[in-house]
Symmetry: C2
Subunit: 293 residues, 2 copies
């Protein structure tokens, strides 16, 4: 089980996802040096015997391979190039793996700048949520050069149960954007279908059952359809996160002069719920935007 | 294999779906009396030893259980109550099973009128397309009274591989409307996601592969995503049919003062393709409405 016992890994970003990912790498035998902007999360990991340091630069001085799991694109830029950022401590032949959901253009730019420091960069965002992070069953979609991906594979093997090398740097983030578009729109589809069924006088649970296994079947119908039927909107994936990811997908589309009408509408529906103060609910709460009289 | 050898069945509507369904019932041992508005389709079946008659009334005089697979709600009404319609020949204790996609309100109304003739009515629309009809692997979602459903089950067992008794009369059609809403919207989701991926510089086939098995996975991503990647838009399910079903779902929603914004947008996108003369393509050709520059 100690598959990573010869590895020294840096890990930056100890949120809901980062913390359990860190613990899985630790349990696989890796030596970890971690950093988090607010130090409380790091203290929890110290109790498990994981070393925490005060700045990204210090992480870079101690580890060849560094994983990032921070909130958004500006946070990635800050960790890489901000004061006491990773670049200040980088070692030759380093590898940085961004596992968060980051914009495609900046990802390509970061990779170019790091290359000048002799450091490889891989974008490897994930799907599967907190549960997937805890169980080590994340779906990982990666972009980057083949030999950099090869170095990252033993780590991905611990963190996830599915891995695809999608293409060049940025391709992982493109796949993640596509993933979020489908997730958001499929939630919208199930919300409208089950609301229609209920209003017209059928039992939504029976309708869901009838549709599973046919052309309408999806992971969203299975998991989030059940949440809608149960009225259980504890996250899971938050509306605010889903909305941020949809905005990012729309900005990526705009970079390529592409209009995505259904994605735009879906983002607006999520915005309506945020305006109503419901942003912290699970994204399946999109069904609340539909009013049946 | 001759599971239906004591059955005499009527079958009306010998289109792309009805013909193979008829042949499957015949091969299971049932004696069939069929009718089709235009007689050519019936002649093909006569070569297989299936008896065809000139009117629905004649079908009703020869069979206790009659299946309908006709184009739309007006066609169902015509077959049931029009000149030489089924009611003119109905026998006591008959059972009529409508397996087409028919509006919910009229379905409930037809059932009420037939009850006055002592005849049971079941709505049992299907999902799975021509392939499912040929292979006897349709998904069947039914509404009606329990004892009527029980009489229909041996037939469903031959025609499909999945069956759900959703609820009272009309509930099968409600489930089918929900099914078509999800299918249309999931196609839209995959179309926008794969177009975004391609425009932004990733291989759509790799992106589809990365997303299968995660939260974005669906039967539509699997089947219709592949069609989009291959540019293979031979139907399958036609755009005109999908559009008709979405309009019907929107009308059902309107009956209950329910607005379905994503379904409305999806129907408009399909309308755009029909206006461009593309209505006979498979519904996965929705991707053609998205223009990347």
């Amino acid at each position: 089980m100690k598959r990573l016992e010869n590895y020294t890994l840096g890990f930056i970003g100890l949120g809901l996802m980062g913390r359990p990912m860190c613990l899985n790498l630790h349990q696989a035998g890796a030596r970890l040096i971690v950093h988090n902007r607010s130090p409380e999360a790091a203290k929890q990991l110290e109790r498990a015997g994981i070393l925490s340091v005060a700045t990204p630069a210090e992480v870079a001085r101690s580890a060849d391979i560094i994983l990032l799991m921070v909130a958004d694109t500006p946070a990635v830029e800050q960790v890489l190039f901000g004061p006491s950022g990773l670049v200040e401590g980088l070692r030759e032949n380093g590898l940085i793996i961004d596992m968060g959901t980051t914009a495609v253009g900046p990802t390509r730019e970061f990779a170019k700048r790091l290359k000048q420091h002799g450091v490889d960069y891989v974008d490897a965002p994930v799907s599967g949520g907190e549960i997937g992070a805890i169980n080590g069953t994340l779906t990982i979609m990666a972009g980057g050069e083949e030999q950099a991906i090869q170095r990252a594979l033993p780590l991905f093997d611990v963190l996830g149960s599915r891995f695809t090398h999608v293409g060049d740097i940025g391709a992982g983030q493109i796949a993640k954007a596509a993933n979020q578009v489908i997730v958001g729109l499929n939630i919208g589809a199930v919300a409208e279908a089950l609301t229609l069924a209920r209003q017209a006088g059928a039992d939504p649970a029976k309708v869901r059952e009838a549709l599973m296994g046919g052309f309408a079947s999806s992971r969203i119908l299975e998991v989030h359809g059940q949440r809608m039927i149960d009225g259980d909107f504890a996250p899971g994936g938050k509306i605010t996160t889903q909305h941020k990811d949809l905005r990012q997908a729309l900005e990526l589309a705009a970079d390529y002069h592409l209009e995505l009408p259904a994605t735009r509408l879906n983002a607006e529906l999520y915005q309506t719920l945020i305006d109503q103060g419901l942003g912290d609910l699970d994204h399946s709460a999109l069904i609340k935007v539909l009013k049946g009289e």
